[in-house]
Every structure is written in C-alpha cells, then in structure tokens.
Symmetry: C2
Subunit: 187 residues, 2 copies
C-alpha cells in the first residue's frame, strides 16, 4: 500500500502517462521510491479504479496514444491521510554492504572493484542531482527559492538524494582505499 502514495505524490506536479512516470521514477523519484514500469502501470490501474486519479486518452499521430493521469480530490485526501499517520523508518537493503560485512572472509578484490565502481556511479548521481536542483530553482538562489517558491517538496527530496549519494561516494572511496592498503592486490 505504499507505491500508491509515491505515485500520487509524483502526479501532483501535473498530468503524466505511465511511460512518463516510469522515467520520473527512474531518475528523481528513485531517491525515495524505486519502481519498474510494470509496477507503475499496475498501480495506475488500481488508483484509477479506486477513484484516486483520473485518466484521459490522448490521441497521437506520430507515436502510440497515451493516457494522462491527474490526482482527484479523493487522491489528495488519501495523501493527506497518509501523511498524517506516523511512518516507520525505511527498510534498507544493500547488497554491497552485505559484501563488505563479509569481506574479511572473502577475496577482497571483487569487493574493492565494486566499491570503486559504485563511487563513480554515486559521483555521477551527485552531478545529476545538482543539475536537477539548478533546474528546479531556476535563477533564484537556493535560499530564496526555499523560502519563496510554492513547490519545494521535489527540491527537498533532491537535496536529500544529493546528500545521500555524496555520503555514499565518500564511504565507498575510503573503504576501497583501506581494503587496498590492507591486502595489496594486483588489479
């Protein structure tokens, strides 16, 4: 019962098709909610049946038709009810950390390689978030934007994503360097 709310929150910014939502969930929303397209299409169907969103068909000639969805007043109420009940901290699940936990009893080389690769990915995500943040705030400084814009939610979640990836990168770099120093390996 939770992807539901993530989809409703994403649809607050405007009308989107399942396909567009899938892209949004692949970049910005993936900070706080991961979902593959199949899940989104299924959830959109359920949400529409529940009356929390409405879809309208858009005929296109240069590409397949699509359905655009909007949040209904009932959907907004559902989101409000969701925000009112205390939430539990997220359940983390990270394979790379499992490997590091076990690294003393394994060959460290592949773990080091993965840490270094992950550091690069995290650095790329930091830059992606920076671009998104700049785009969201336009000409305004962050200070001004945060105090005066009427749509700060996406900016704040991006800030969180940026912080997380920055932290992640630093940790990966440090751990990779340490493991290299402890057990020098050729590659």
């Amino acid at each position: 019962m939770a992807l539901r709310h993530a989809v409703l929150a994403a649809l607050l910014d405007g009308e989107y098709s399942g396909y567009q939502l899938a892209k949004i969930f692949d970049v910005s929303c993936s900070n706080f909610w991961y979902a593959v397209p199949q899940q989104l299409y299924a959830e959109l169907t359920k949400l529409e049946r529940a009356g929390l969103i409405t879809g309208r068909q858009v005929i296109q000639h240069d590409r397949p038709n699509k359905r655009l969805f909007t949040v209904t007043p009932a959907g907004l109420a559902e989101l409000a009810a969701f925000a009112a009940v205390p939430s539990k901290p997220s359940s983390t699940r990270e394979d790379l950390l499992v490997m590091v936990q076990a690294v003393d009893r394994l060959d460290p080389a592949p773990v080091i390689a993965q840490l270094e690769e992950r550091a690069v990915i995290a650095a790329a995500k930091v830059e992606l978030f920076d671009r998104m943040l700049r785009q969201l705030r336009g000409d305004l400084t962050e200070e001004t934007f945060l105090h005066e814009s009427n749509r700060v939610g996406p900016y704040l979640t991006c800030l969180r994503g940026r912080r997380f990836e920055q932290e992640n990168r630093e940790w990966c770099v440090q751990v990779a360097a340490l493991l290299r120093a402890r057990a020098p390996v050729s590659r």
Copy 2:
C-alpha cells in the same frame, strides 16, 4: 535470493540461533538489511537444507532449547560467488520522503512533526553506532583497528550506518526548520 547472503554474512562472526540472529538483524545488520524474525527462521531452514549452514541443538534447562548455526565451506563459497557478481544499487523506499515530496499540497504540520521525531530517532541511532564502534575496536584507535584487525567488515558497515544516520538527522532538522519558517503553525 538476497536475505540468504545477509544471513550468511552475519553468521561469519560465530554460532547464532535464530533468536539471536533476529536481535542482530534488529540492531547492527538493520543498517544494510532489514528482516523480521519469521523471515530469518524461514531462511535458516532453507540454508540448512541447501547445505550452506549446519545447525546443532543446544539443550538448556533454564530456558527453551535452541539451535545454533554455523556457515559451512559451501556457504562460504556461496558468499564468495555472491561477492564476485556486480550488485545493483539498493532500492530505497522511504515513506517520509514521499510525504516531503507532496508537502506543498498538504497540511505541513504532521510532516514537520514526523521530521522532528525522525531527527531524534536518527540522533539516537548515531549514538548507538558510536557505542557499537567503540565496542568493536576496543582500546585501539580507529586508525590502528582498521589497519590491523582481522575483522573490519562489521566495523565498516557500522561506519556507513553512522554516516547515514548523521546525514539523515541533519536533513530532517533543516527541512523541519524550513517548513516551520514557511508556514508557521501553532503546535
């Protein structure tokens, strides 16, 4: 196929019963892998049937008997194989972030309350990690421990958990303060 490896990694530190593992997964391992006791018992059964761990019964007189599990060579090989294949970044899922994403269209009061509560929880976790880190390294400095100990995996994952919670706390505090400043509310 992933709780499997988290359990194997946790069992590298010694013999544990399902009940003990449940406690470990409730505190230290919950950094990187969350699981409720029922999942652990089920997974232990599967792991034993697959020959990746072995259990031995321990008769107790002051409390119910228990079964202690150890990783077999096959289990270690399974872990090594797991560490060798590149892993995908984790799939984050955080209700609180969904609420912040939508906060512009909702009553901010309950969201602010949850952010402030979460900041307190995160601060407590930082302290818990600090205690765990001190306990793991004993008298040694972190520097010395990291370079000379033969069991740094759990320490490194704890460091990551500490970083994450610290970052989380700061973000929660800042966002709560900002939302309060934007829309002054009585409570």
